[in-house]
């Protein structure tokens, strides 16, 4: 058997608006920017991304589910994305439901708020995971069995924790420094767990699509289905399943439609399935196969940047301070929530744990004007920090601290 496990990730944060010190005490609205055209207007961004990515990619996936019995994929959808979709484009959720109903689309769990809470507050982490599970149960009527942490941030402790939460498998980056001579194209058992399977992203083949596809400087540009299939074939000599873990917005947003990304995927699916013994697998199907060995992640590995670490979220003083102050408020917020005071406090707090907020404060590549700058909703990491601090002041004000 030669298998592809295609896993896609959908997320949109609740970006906080340019919240000034003059708003503190006057407005508790952090996430809905009255100006539709502002950089932080979530609805505008959501609709823009939907136009360019969600709608055409949904169409592509639906078409292929219909056309090929053997086409399957896995998907994680953050709770905060679902909230925004429910508000502005509920038809997206209806289409997702239909896809899940085919039984060939598997939902992958994570933190509802797409947070790094695992590294700050374990109770909060578990709470957010549980909220995501119940959300899937409510909307899609399925209980997820496989987990992915935000940004694929994984270490042995993450493995042990999510096994306790009842998951069978967890996704991680198949990073060379951890794997050494081993191949990401096999299933491993997570070190320090009884029976948790690790599914490892084949980052070379995933990133050929996600990052390099339209790069004309790349020696292999343009990427054709034929060329890509020979690489997949080569990888299959070294394992049974190739894990293509890709950000959903790759299709249409990172790689625009003009690059031919949609046609490429369309043809790749068809061509792959046309060959004898080739399959698509969902994450649970893959996790059902026996592990070839044990694998330990002594330190945290993510799927981000060339460092594959947490430095884009926890790498500077701005981020440290902002997150430390935020999580320090949790006790008071829970207390206020338990006596029914200010119902929105807890929700506001949790939306602020979304990892994107810290990412906007990342300064490491700021001057390069690269991907960090491209994805920022703010003029600078410092502006993002400033507004975030003001929001923290507002939370304190509401708590009477």
């Amino acid at each position: 058997m030669r298998g592809i496990c295609l896993y896609l990730h959908i997320h949109q944060p609740w970006r906080f608006r340019a919240y000034s010190i003059f708003d503190v005490g006057n407005s508790d609205n952090y996430f809905l920017d009255g100006n539709y055209h502002s950089k932080q207007n979530n609805e505008r961004i959501f609709r823009k991304v939907a136009e360019k990515s969600y709608l055409p990619t949904f169409t592509l996936l639906e078409k292929n589910l219909k056309r090929h019995e053997g086409f399957k994929f896995s998907l994680s959808v953050t709770g905060v994305w679902l909230e925004q979709a429910e508000l502005w484009m509920p038809e997206l959720i209806e289409r997702l439901k239909k896809m899940v109903k085919t039984g060939r689309v598997e939902l992958v769990a994570e933190t509802y708020y797409h947070s790094m809470s695992f590294f700050y507050d374990r109770e909060e982490f578990e709470e957010q995971v549980r909220k995501q599970i119940t959300t899937f149960e409510r909307i899609f009527n399925v209980t997820p069995k496989v987990f992915r942490n935000t940004e694929l941030a994984y270490n042995d402790e993450v493995g042990a924790t999510v096994e306790k939460l009842g998951f069978n498998a967890c996704l991680a980056e198949g990073w060379d420094k951890v794997l050494g001579w081993r191949s990401p194209n096999f299933v491993y058992q997570a070190a320090g767990t009884k029976n948790l399977k690790l599914l490892l992203k084949n980052y070379r083949l995933s990133d050929d699509i996600a990052f390099r596809f339209s790069n004309k400087e790349w020696k292999d540009w343009p990427l054709t289905v034929e060329k890509y299939e020979t690489w997949l074939g080569g990888a299959c000599l070294d394992g049974n399943v190739i894990n293509l873990f890709i950000d959903f917005e790759t299709f249409g947003e990172h790689q625009w439609a003009e690059t031919g990304i949609f046609e490429f995927m369309d043809r790749l699916i068809e061509s792959w399935l046309a060959k004898f013994d080739n399959k698509f697998l969902t994450v649970s199907e893959e996790a059902a196969s026996p592990p070839v060995g044990e694998l330990s992640y002594p330190w945290t590995v993510t799927w981000a940047d060339t460092e594959r670490d947490l430095s884009a979220w926890m790498g500077n003083k701005l981020q440290d301070e902002a997150m430390r102050e935020l999580y320090a408020l949790k006790k008071e917020i829970l207390k206020a929530a338990s006596v029914g005071k200010d119902k929105n406090l807890l929700e506001d707090f949790r939306r602020l744990t979304t990892s994107d907020h810290a990412y906007y404060m990342c300064t490491k590549y700021w001057n390069d004007g690269d991907v960090h700058a491209y994805f920022s909703a703010y003029d600078s990491p410092y502006d993002a920090f400033m507004y975030f601090q003001n929001i923290l002041r507002s939370l304190q004000y509401r708590l009477g601290l």
Binding site: S20, I21, F22, V24, G25, N26, N316, K317, L318, D320, E321, A322, E325, T363, S380, P381, Y382, D383, F385, M386, Q389, N390, L392, R393, S394, Y397
Partner: protein, 412 residues
């Protein structure tokens, strides 16, 4: 007397104290009977100004002046597009400050073909070339008014040589120089070798509009700060452009020191500028971001609210020719801490003083004031007597005396 004033900005199209000072000085002079034509480099409505003629040297929007940066001499060498003639529709990034100055000079030259003022009063290097032109080509007496030198703007660095050249020529050819403080007078003397007796100190005074307009605190806008004050926090503020000249990094270091002793201090940084990102970052690096609030650019009502709410106002400038904001803060009853390098410190004696580099002293002064109500009250009541000591009417009198002398000399 007919005066041609050469300026770069007037409120509300100003980015700092220069425009405020020019407006108040002109108004006081006009009150005494001076006929003033005031040239600005842009076109905009100045409805509220009826005591003089405001002349526009170009059709540019005032934003161009902001874009070109009245204060940012380092932008001078920004792109110069040979064919851009600064006409009606041109985008700001195509206009350099040098082009605006050229247009400004052309305008003044045309003006002088037609009119013959008794003297020209030019404000800061931006207009000195036009002033020199009037002096050289038309023989009109020139007063060069220095609100800030390039050495001040460069904050201890050397500054832009081209600006130095323009400044030097204006100062050399002027019949008389006005400096906004003794500190500035000595910089002019030491850096440009101008004899001291050619330079008169003409202090600024508080903006008349500031005094006249009814004011009451809008509690809504600073609800949070009010609540913090009620909990016993002391509010320490600074207002201005965030540039190296203002010494704000020293201020932050001092804030961190003070916070180690007393955590009920809140620092309010009101303003904006090229140093903002660095300051936000430094506050986090020092671990005091929680106690440092950045408001962004404030003007008008919000600015006055800042003064009104503050207990302590700090002017941390490495070099501040005058420092109008300190007078405004004093008017609102703030206790002042000023660097010895600020001109306004020459006028306001009932204030704490420190050297801009002395973080330790500043921290001590902040703590002392925060800890002692008695000290606060004494300083507040004493400064009230001081901050209005110099009125714009007095300033005008000083100027008029000089005007008369040099006009007489020119005619004789």
């Amino acid at each position: 007397m007919k005066i041609l004033m050469l300026g770069w900005e007037l409120p509300p199209h100003n980015s700092g104290g220069l425009g405020v000072a020019c407006l108040n000085l002109s108004r006081a002079l006009a009150k005494d009977g001076a006929e003033i034509d005031f040239v600005v480099p842009y076109t905009a409505e100045h409805e509220e100004i009826n005591f003089m003629h405001v002349l526009s040297a170009s059709k540019l929007d005032p934003l161009f002046r902001f874009g070109a940066g009245a204060y940012d001499s380092d932008k001078i060498e920004d792109l110069i597009i040979p064919d851009a003639k600064i006409p009606n529709a041109i985008s700001s990034d195509q206009v350099s400050i040098r082009q605006i100055q050229k247009t400004y000079c052309d305008f003044v030259e045309n003006y002088l073909m037609e009119f013959k003022p008794d003297l020209v009063h030019a404000h800061d290097w931006l207009t000195f070339e036009a002033g020199v032109l009037a002096k050289k080509n038309f023989g009109i007496p020139l007063i060069a008014h220095v609100h800030a030198t390039e050495f001040d703007r460069a904050g201890g660095e050397n500054g832009n040589p081209l600006v130095h050249e323009i400044e030097r020529e204006g100062l050399l050819l002027a019949d008389k120089i006005f400096a906004v403080s003794n500190a500035t007078k000595h910089i002019i003397h030491e850096k440009y070798n101008i004899p001291l007796d050619k330079i008169d100190v003409v202090y600024n005074s508080l903006d008349e509009d500031f005094l006249k307009q009814a004011y009451s605190l809008d509690e809504r806008s600073y609800k949070y700060l009010e609540s913090m004050k009620k909990r016993g926090y002391t509010l320490i503020s600074t207002v201005g452009r965030f540039t190296v000249q203002k010494g704000l990094t020293h201020f932050l270091h001092a804030a961190a020191r003070a916070l180690r002793k007393n955590n009920k201090l809140l620092f309010l940084f009101a303003g904006d500028g090229e140093e903002k990102d660095e300051l936000v970052n430094l506050a986090a690096e020092l671990g005091i971001a929680k106690n440092v609030i950045f408001t962004g650019f404030v003007r008008g009502k919000q600015l006055r609210d800042v003064y009104e709410l503050s207990d302590i106002f700090v002017m941390s400038s490495i070099s501040e020719p005058f420092g109008l904001t300190a007078l405004e803060a004093a008017h609102h009853g703030d206790v002042l801490i000023l660097t010895k390098q600020s001109g306004v410190a020459e006028v306001l004696k009932n204030s704490f003083r420190y050297d801009f580099w002395d973080d330790d002293k500043l921290a001590n002064e902040i703590l002392a004031i925060a800890d002692s109500k008695a000290l606060q009250e004494t300083l507040k009541s004493n400064i009230k007597a001081e901050y209005r000591k110099i009125s714009w009417a007095d300033v005008a009198k000083t100027c008029e005396k000089v005007y008369n002398e040099i006009v007489k000399k020119a005619k004789g």
